[in-house]
């Protein structure tokens, strides 16, 4: 198994509402996206994602979460996008960014996809959020695009996303 970097994107000044990788090459087995992210608004920023620009109710997700003082589990089916997990926000310590990771198995197949994710926000305080997530995506198509976006506002400057293929 070998990782090959496809592309790294860094958000420039002014931020960005989303990062979307399109025309993903179909010569790998799995896809991995590693991110360092900070959202500009709110105290409970989450990263959402959508595959193949599919806005249908084809995503189900379960999340295990912690925030430094409590834990919980949340989930849902029939969603029009999915959650990867927490990202740092404007309420967190200045210039801190989350660690976020997404793994898509067998992305070139024509059957349903499994997506694993983990994320932790960085904050110099008790309150720092952690997520483990699993998404099921109902589809008959290979993954050709990934859209990443925060639930509120924009991704701040210096946020990065690196897409790798594994073969």
């Amino acid at each position: 198994m070998a990782y090959e970097l496809i592309e790294t994107i860094e958000v420039g000044s002014g931020g960005a509402a989303s990062i979307e990788f399109t025309s993903i090459p179909q010569d790998g087995v799995d896809l991995v996206c590693k991110m360092s992210l900070r959202g500009g608004t709110g105290s409970s920023q989450l990263l959402q994602f959508r595959l193949n620009s599919d806005t249908g109710t084809n995503y189900s997700v379960i999340r295990l979460v912690g925030d430094g003082s409590s834990v919980g589990s949340f989930g849902g089916t029939g969603n029009t996008a999915s959650f990867l997990g927490a990202i740092s926000s404007s309420s967190d310590t200045a210039s801190t960014f989350s660690n976020s990771h997404m793994y898509i198995s067998n992305y070139t197949s024509t059957t349903n996809k499994s997506i694993g994710g983990d994320a932790v926000s960085e904050n110099n305080a008790t309150f720092a959020r952690q997520d483990i997530s699993a998404t099921g995506y109902t589809t008959t198509s290979p993954i050709t695009s990934i859209l990443l976006y925060p639930i509120n506002g924009t991704l701040e400057q210096y946020s990065t996303a690196s897409l790798y293929k594994i073969y």
Binding site: I6, E7, I9, V11, G12, G14, G15, A16, A17, S18, I19, E20, F21, T22, S23, I24, P25, S44, L46, Q48, S70, G72, F74, G76, T80, A81, Y149, I151, N152, T154, L163
Partner: protein, 79 residues
């Protein structure tokens, strides 16, 4: 006022020519706002459910104490 922008990375192009900065359409902005409201409503519901669970737990412990169980016995029961 202009809308926020998005980064689109077309991986079919050569490196250095892949990245485009595109302004969100009004429809995309509206969808993001609707999703944000939905997510916030879900978050509040989850917080409420967790608060209720915690309150039930504390009430249960109080009831067990009133029946004469020690803290150690309650802890053993709760695992």
């Amino acid at each position: 006022m202009s809308n926020p922008t998005k980064i689109v990375v077309d991986l079919s192009k050569p490196k250095g020519q892949r990245e485009s900065i595109i302004e969100l359409t009004d429809a995309e902005v509206a969808e993001r706002e609707a999703q944000a409201q939905e997510a916030e409503a879900q978050r509040l519901a989850e917080e409420q459910a967790e608060a209720e669970r915690q309150a039930n737990k504390e009430a249960g412990i109080a009831t067990l104490k009133s029946l004469g169980l020690t803290d150690e016995q309650i802890e053993a029961l709760l695992g």
